[in-house]
């Protein structure tokens, strides 16, 4: 009998075209390559310079999201795209995909959306696959029991040309979350708490497997939120073993196997879990039932605290104090009741239908506070339609929020949607780095429930008071 293996090891070994040696990294086969407008143009230029083709167009899927506007007038072409260089980048992706014969979900596509939302939604993301994209939040797809990680543009070129990457085998980290999350505590609070515990470099060089009863109880949307932010702990990837929740989500999706092929695939996918007795390089345990809503106060996602907590006092640490100075906060300060100017509900972390439903449940019949601009950006055009079918758009619009087309929007602030300098934004996105949402913007990362509660109150608010 062979030695017990982890989920990661099983997938890794299935994809070794050439195993690693002391002299050379493994040649790792890539099943699915997701492409977007920002990190691909220079890779296509390389292909052109070297006279290379895309090796497997059937394993390549492109969408536009990062620099793509979310203003309905710009998307519909009623007004020109405001950021001129972004318009050029979008055109370049169209040109590249046409020239190299790659499937593109373009501006008019009803399937377009954020790359890490549309892959799962179309059923292209599947258990056991290796999935890469020129984007660090690619670990999102690990929620399906895939090995998914972000790569740079040079590697985008490698995958386009060879469908392979040169990779050293990372270490493994098991994070077990037992118990059940309390009312008002979401997958976002869970992953923020994990990052707070292991730190923003705690996962460097490692692939995380999330496991335990609290993880198993999460919906696919929640699992994607958790895996999405693995990179914010520095991890190479994050993954969750597939189960009936995974199969139920994928069944019938356009790019998922159908008929006999589906039954065969599910049989295989059921093997994709860490064997009893499999060992990890490191293990961390967290009690899910003790978790509370979390919010960040600093300039990286590890600077996080319970929503009713106080900013830590590390006044002797100049880097910490520089971060607080940027945020306009003091040690020992409470954030509850702090006035805010922006609420952003969106991004590849928290723009799926259940995120929007949760926000709508809290906002329904209320008004967004007059001092707050609230931007609600669905993760894909399909989610937008599903939300509209449920009447969520009306709930948001009647409350005074803006309802947008899908895209990365204010998460990255390179598409026309930004937070102004000095403003506080409660944001459901993934990064609170200096300037991330706009030069001088002050980001407070939180769940959709916390964001919705804060939008109504006009200040940082505890969602448990509104549920």
């Amino acid at each position: 009998m062979s030695a017990p293996k982890t989920l990661f090891e099983k997938i890794w070994e299935r994809h070794e075209v050439v195993p690693e040696t002391t002299d050379t990294p493994a040649v790792l086969y890539i099943d699915l390559h997701l492409v977007h407008e920002v990190t691909s143009p220079q890779a296509f230029s390389l292909l052109r310079q070297q006279g290379l083709k895309v090796r497997r167009i059937d394993r390549t899927l492109a969408t536009m999201d990062h620099s793509t506007p979310t203003d309905p007038d710009e998307i519909a072409g009623r007004v020109p795209i405001k950021v001129k260089s972004a318009a050029q980048q979008i055109q370049q992706l169209e040109k590249n995909c046409a020239e190299f014969n790659i499937e593109l979900l373009n501006l008019n596509s009803t399937q377009r959306g954020i790359v890490h939302v549309v892959g799962p939604e179309l059923g292209a993301t599947q258990p056991g696959k290796t999935i890469v994209c020129g984007d660090s939040h690619t670990a999102t797809h690990g929620a399906f029991g895939a090995l998914a990680f972000g790569i740079g543009t040079t590697e985008v070129g490698h995958v386009l040309a060879t469908q392979c990457l040169l990779q050293r085998r990372p270490k493994t980290l098991a994070i077990t979350v037992d118990g059940q999350l309390s009312e008002g505590v979401t997958a976002k609070d869970l992953i923020l708490a994990i990052i707070g515990k292991i730190g923003v470099a705690g996962g460097t060089g490692q692939v995380i497997e999330y496991r335990g009863s609290a993880i198993e109880s999460l919906s696919m949307d929640g699992r994607m939120t958790v895996c999405n932010m693995s990179i914010e702990a520095g991890a190479r990837a994050g993954m969750i073993a597939p189960d009936e929740t995974t199969f139920a989500y994928l069944k019938g999706r356009p790019k998922a196997p159908q008929g006999v092929a589906w039954d065969k695939a599910v049989q295989d996918w059921k093997q994709l879990r860490s064997d009893p007795g499999a060992t990890f390089d490191r293990e961390v345990h967290i009690s899910g039932s003790e978790l509370v809503p979390m919010i960040t106060y600093g300039t990286h996602p590890g600077m996080v605290m319970p929503i009713d907590g106080q900013v830590p006092n590390l006044s002797g640490d100049p880097v910490f104090m520089k971060s607080l100075a940027y945020m306009g906060l003091q040690p020992n300060e409470s954030l509850l009741g702090k006035p805010i100017q922006v609420v952003f509900i969106g991004s590849c972390t928290n723009a799926r239908l259940s995120d929007l439903e949760l926000a709508a449940k809290l906002i329904k019949g209320k008004r967004i506070a007059p001092n707050v601009r609230a931007l609600i950006v669905p993760g894909s055009q399909q989610i937008k339609r599903e939300a509209e079918a449920l009447g969520l758009d009306k709930i948001f619009i009647e409350a005074g929020a803006e309802w947008r087309e899908s895209g990365c929007s204010m998460c990255i602030g390179m598409n026309g949607d930004t937070v102004a300098s000095g403003q506080y934004a409660v944001s459901t996105s993934n990064r609170n780095f200096e300037g991330r949402q706009g030069a001088g913007a002050r980001t407070l990362l939180a769940s959709p429930a916390t964001a919705a509660a804060s939008a109504i109150r006009g200040c940082v608010a505890d969602p448990r008071e509104l549920i």
């Binding site: 990179i231 990064r431 780095f433 300037g435």
Partner: protein, 191 residues
């Protein structure tokens, strides 16, 4: 890519931990379709004031930093996004190596592919470098050593294959292209 063997330069120190890629190059400069000219945007939010003028308090704008090819930074340099624009910007600005106690995975991988040396060293020698800005260093890639002006010779680990490629100016894509027959066999075997 040009082969890299020795880098000798004074250092410049950024005394912060967790310097993320949004600091190295903010996202608003990523709407480009080439690699050219990104150095002007390196550390843009720190280098420039709101009116576009240079921030005289920022170390990279000061005379002592001019011509420095080695950047010393706090733990977990390059965390955040996968943007290869970060090493492109640092190289275009004039840096050839970054030294820290930890360098984020994707940034390290991107740097190695572009000839920016991501060097991780022990905390003690790193602390010395952090407190001695302007120190003259020699990085010897062949021997994976760092010569400090205090006489210490510090060894560092750099992944062997990447080091071979850097020393010989070899492109990793060429290596992968030579594997195409094996890749085809792999595809046929699992079909």
């Amino acid at each position: 890519m040009e082969p890299i063997r020795l880098i000798s330069s004074k250092t410049v120190v950024l005394p912060y931990t967790d310097i993320d890629t949004d600091q190295i190059i903010p996202a608003r400069f990523l709407t480009t379709t080439t690699k050219a000219g990104l150095g002007q945007h390196a550390f843009s939010n720190w280098r420039y004031q709101a009116d576009g003028s240079l921030n005289p308090d920022f170390i990279l704008n000061q005379g002592t930093a001019q011509g420095c090819q080695i950047l010393i930074a706090g733990n977990n340099f390059g965390c955040g996004s996968s943007r290869e624009h970060a090493p492109w910007a640092l190289l275009d600005f004039g840096f050839k190596a970054v030294i820290s106690t930890e360098i984020a995975d994707i940034f390290r991988s991107n740097s190695l592919k572009n000839g920016l040396l991501p060097i991780v060293i022990d905390a003690e020698n790193h602390a010395w470098l952090m407190s001695n800005p302007g120190a003259g260093l020699t990085i010897d890639l062949q021997n994976s050593t760092l010569s400090l002006p205090n006489g210490k010779l510090v060894t560092f680990n750099i992944e062997g294959f990447a080091r071979y490629c850097l020393l010989n100016g070899v492109d990793e894509l060429g290596f992968l292209m030579n594997q195409l027959d094996t890749i085809t066999q792999f595809e046929q075997a699992r079909a």
